[in-house]
Symmetry: C2
Subunit: 257 residues, 2 copies
């Protein structure tokens, strides 16, 4: 039977300060939980109905699994329709793998505020094989239960780290890593030379890339509106802009082969 | 002073059934309301603080404008930070302009459920000069106050109509209008010939394009994941996919010039 303390712990993980204090987050649903188990993210404990317990142990026999009832799952779930399985997971530590970043395309999120946009961007990264996302410390929190669910498993394949951006970009610049930025002004994306590796910085929903970050950008990319030169819309949604630019990076790699 | 009945009417427009019954929707904020006034959408009445009334009359001297206090605006606003102006607008009637549709790129939304996705797609359409969106009758409602605000004025420039899709697509097919569909399987977007005109159909978040709509699609488009052939992610968010495909249509037009 689920202890009161465990129920209290799980319910508290809705709040960022509790996630920070405990270093834990919650994931729900069979597909997401098995994706996370296989991804190497540390799982503190799995709570599930009896019929799933055996299957889950097959992925990793050392997993701590507690069998709970449907009623108990309803009490701890953050979902409208509670699933049969909940995992208490450890938030991975921020690690920078410079060897990877030097060779690959990496996303850098500067003050993305909307959790929905963050979830969408992580899914886009996953689709296009981006394995690293660096977030400024004031970005929306990936480990919010709603964002975790909205990434649909993408967070098991994309490594997201929260870091002081200025320090990170200073080190990237010293290593001559190209730093692209998504801007409303800037060079037409389709006329730019795009490298296979590099950082793509996208900025806040209302204000774009911060003033303190702008000096690090080596190439400003602009998605031309259509018809070209006739600007009507204020701006694209940041997740739309990220999708378009990343897709263009990837299609270019194929064309250049 | 705002009458109780008017307050009641405005507050009721949060609900789809009230919007259907009255044919009205609410827009808030100076930029959005002036965009709508200039767009030709019929405005039933504008409620604003005294300092704005003159400016608003300048756009259209026949507008019915009622001066209200900040307190009154707080009572009717659907926003967290109420603005100085609210417009009661008439939902435009669904009209199909076949001459336009034959020449231009048009979006067709099949059962898009999430209001956030709908708002994002309307903004993407606006950015890329798409002037017509046809929605299936079971799509999320554009005139929900949250969606209206999230489009940031795009709904003043993009004509969105709710129609029975099968009838619409039957007529389009009879006129030999190309009908593209966004699919998880299908031809690689970057290898496809894309015409300047045509319909682009995008489907429901969970299920994609409906079975009843599929037979109308003349070309299935697929956004290749990366690295090509290594599928990890389940799917792209529908607004991301729409952004990428529309951007590719528009960049192709420029390249072919």
């Amino acid at each position: 039977m689920l202890s009161k303390n465990k129920i209290k712990l799980i319910r508290s993980l809705d709040l960022k300060k509790s996630r920070r204090a405990t270093g834990l987050f919650i994931a729900e649903g069979e597909k997401l939980v098995t994706d996370l188990i296989q991804s190497g993210i540390e799982i503190s404990e799995v709570l599930c109905v009896e019929s799933l317990a055996k299957d889950i142990k097959r992925y990793n026999s050392t997993l701590q699994v507690e069998i709970v009832t449907k009623n108990e799952l309803e009490r701890i779930s953050f979902l409208k329709s509670p699933s049969d399985i909940v995992a208490i997971c450890k938030i991975p530590e921020a690690v920078i793998d410079w060897a990877k970043i030097q060779k690959e395309l990496t996303l850098v999120l500067d003050e993305i505020q909307d959790p929905g946009n963050l979830g969408t961007i992580v899914r886009v990264a996953d689709w296009f094989g981006i394995r690293t996302i660096i977030c400024s410390e004031n970005c929306a929190d990936l480990y919010n239960p709603k964002v975790v669910q909205s990434t649909m498993g993408a967070l098991s394949r994309v490594k997201v780290s929260y870091l002081p951006l200025i320090e990170f970009l200073t080190l990237a610049k010293q290593q001559n890593i190209p730093i692209y930025g998504a801007y409303l002004e800037g060079e037409n994306l389709y006329n730019c030379k795009l490298t296979e590796n590099g950082l793509l910085v996208v900025g806040n929903e209302g204000n774009g890339i911060s003033e303190t970050i702008a000096p690090f950008i080596s190439k400003k990319l602009n998605i031309p509106s259509y018809p070209i030169g006739v600007a009507t819309s204020e701006s694209l949604n940041v997740a739309s802009a990220t999708s378009i630019i990343v897709a263009e990076f990837r299609s270019r790699v194929e064309k250049n082969k």
